[in-house]
Structures are given as structure tokens and as C-alpha cells.
Symmetry: C2
Subunit: 194 residues, 2 copies
DNA sequence: TAGATTGTTAATCGATTAACAATC
DNA sequence: TAGATTGTTAATCGATTAACAATC
């Protein structure tokens, strides 16, 4: 979250930030000091923190200062949405292929990509290094695909299917549970008073 | 998360759950007992918790046992994706309209919906009650639209734009930050060892 | 009755907040 | 030097875990 605000500040040519950082991010001043301390405390007293320095530091911490190549499995609307938006919203993450099971989809265009068959995954991956697989396919197919992708060496999974993937522990999975988020909205709306 | 697993268990015709609930959800047995206790402790000793009863209870707690009507603002891939998937993935949430700024989009079909102009929002909302607005539009437009929607009475916002919406405090906003989730994946992959 | 499992309180742990010294 | 702000430790708070009594 800090990263998003730092990029915004930098875009506005603000090079130092201190007290206003708290109200901007909605954190307490104490929380920010503690976090900056844990990040390695690179501020200057009575001046604040250097925006570009802090941004770079967080970039490095997150590991997004190095490139990540991704493939998208599932060329539905969600997959297409990510294929379109990601490259220019998230520097360092590049989509290098889009795949689908469905013969109707194969061969169609998604942005600059021609959708390939999941049958061609193995040969594709052996030729192009892939860091992350984006799973935007039906829940029923996700586990089998993830297993197959793990077998050919992929270790990072960005999973949009509402299932808990079972993979060896050197795999990293991050789930996006849109259902949870909508359910939380309902919950908060019901309990506004408290 | 419990809710998702309970639906799955019910689908498999499993009517009681106890110890296996922990491994299924990845929680400790202690955590589950504590949570069930806070939910109102409706289990039977030496038998476990009733799956349908617990599912219903959580549904009520989340407020998803009553209907929610939604409109989608932004008919890009993400908006389309939600328009398509939501109705049959999340019972009780129904999309009743899709809107867009872009004249190219207006009049096109998204599932069963014809995309309407955002100019027609006010008159549409005065005729159809809307609980939740889904903001799948560019960050630059999100704040203005949210303000407009608030003015005509909408209080629930499911926001996919990477901005912090500023609205009166009787509005409820839940943000979906896909960027964060991808950045976390990168972070975890970098720090597998620790 | 014995076994299994839940209900409930207490103990532990980690994260947030407060306080104040250090320093630009 | 005075003012502002960060660095760092201690105190507080809340959430998770442990323990064991209650009961089906």
C-alpha cells in the first residue's frame, strides 16, 4: 500500500514525505515510524523520508525490481482483463502467453496474443522461462492444471479459482478470492452501526 | 472461508463436521472451536457441527441470506467477467445493469445486458433500487463516479480501481487491489526460505 | 460407563501504539 | 539554539493457542 502511494507522490514530483504520509495512507504516525524502522530507517530528521529512495527500497523488498514472466491459463474475460491491463499497470510483470482448454478459444486473439492450446504448454515452457502462472479457469480444472504446471517447473501461481491448490511446499500460491471480498462488503453493510 | 468449505461439504452430502474441518480449512482445532464459540456454539459434543445449520448461520452473519442488487460501472473485460460469473457463483447477488462512459461500448451486449450510458444512471437508479455499485473503471474516473452514485443513494461500493475513494462515512467501500496480491506473490517467491 | 468432541476461560504470542531520546 | 521529525524501546491491545471441564 505504501508502494502505491509512493508511486503517486513521485508522479506528483514530491520528493520527501513525513507527517502527511500518515493521513494519505490512513495509518497512524506511530505505525509508519515503526514500519520505516523495520524497513531499515532511512529517513532524515526534520525532513522526512525520501520518496524515490523509499519506493526503490520497497520495490526491492517485494522483489518487483526484477522481471517476472507470466502465462495466463484461461482466456475468459478475467484472463483477458489481466492480459490487457497488467503490462502497463505493473512494471516488471510481463505476460508472454495465453492458453485455454476450449477449442473455440484456441487461435483467437487476446491483445497481441494468439490463444494457444493447453496441450502445447509443456513445449512452450521448455522454450520460454515462466515465473508465474495465472489461473483464470474453472475451479474444476485448476488443481489438475496446477499440478501439470508444477511438473514442468513453474513455482509461482496466481490463482483466481475458488479452490485450495495442493502442491509441494516449494510452490508459492497466492489466491484471489473475489467471493470473500464481496461477502465482506455485504457483512460491513449489515453492520454499519458497530 | 468457512462458508466456502461448508457449501462444498453440503454438496458432498456431508451433514456433520468436526475434526476434519481443521485440516480442510488449514486452521488449528483450537481456532475452529474458538470461532464456533464466537458464532454462538451450536455443536453437539462427540458428533460435531451441523453443516447446513452452520452454513445458514454464517450466511446470516455475512448478510448474504438477503438479496443484493448490483450495477456494474465499466464494461471492460473485468466488468464483463463479473457480469457473467457472479449470478451463478454467488447466490443472492444479482446484476441488474451495466454502464459505461465510452460511446463505443454503449449499446453493446454483455451477457443479457445492453450497456447503458453513465448519463442514464440517475434515472435508472430512481426506477430500480440498487444496493451495490461495482467500479470496474479507470482509476481516474472512479472518484467522480462514486461521488455521483453516492449522491443518488448508493451506499455499497465494490471498488476495483486502485484509488482510495473519499465518501461520507455511511458509505461502505471494499477495495479489490489485484496489484497488492501480485506483489505479495513476488514477495513470497523471493522469501521462500524464511 | 468410556470415548469423543464441544464450550469456555486462561496463557501466550505478535502486532499496534505510546513515549521519549536522538539528530537533522 | 529551537523546532521538527525520525529511531528505538516499552506498554498496550487483540488475536491465537492451550488447557481442561462439560456433555452427548
Amino acid at each position: 500500500m505504501y508502494y502505491r502511494h509512493l508511486k503517486q507522490l513521485e508522479h506528483n514530483k514530491k520528493w520527501f514525505v513525513s507527517s502527511e504520509f500518515a493521513e494519505l495512507t490512513g495509518q497512524s504516525a506511530s505505525q509508519i515510524r515503526q514500519d520505516m524502522f523495520l524497513f531499515g530507517g532511512k529517513g532524515k530528521q526534520s525532513l522526512g523520508y525520501s520518496v524515490p529512495e523509499l519506493r526503490q527500497h520497497i520495490e526491492h523488498l517485494l522483489g518487483i525490481d526484477r522481471p517476472h514472466s507470466m502465462i495466463i491459463i484461461g482466456a475468459g474475460n478475467l484472463g483477458c482483463s489481466i492480459a490487457h491491463c497488467l503490462p502497463y499497470q505493473q512494471k516488471g510483470f510481463s505476460v508472454i502467453g495465453v492458453f485455454d482448454f476450449n477449442p473455440c478459444k484456441i487461435g483467437s486473439k487476446v491483445g497481441d496474443f494468439t490463444v494457444k492450446s493447453t496441450d502445447d504448454l509443456d513445449s512452450f515452457i521448455s522454450q520460454h522461462p515462466v515465473d508465474i502462472a495465472v489461473l483464470t479457469l474453472p475451479a474444476s480444472d485448476a488443481q489438475a492444471l496446477a499440478k501439470q504446471l508444477y511438473a514442468v517447473g513453474i513455482r509461482g501461481f496466481w490463482n483466481f479459482a475458488p479452490v485450495d491448490l495442493q502442491l509441494a511446499e516449494d510452490a508459492t500460491v497466492v489466491d484471489v478470492h473475489l467471493e470473500y471480498s464481496l461477502e465482506m462488503l455485504s457483512y460491513y453493510m449489515c453492520h454499519m452501526d458497530t
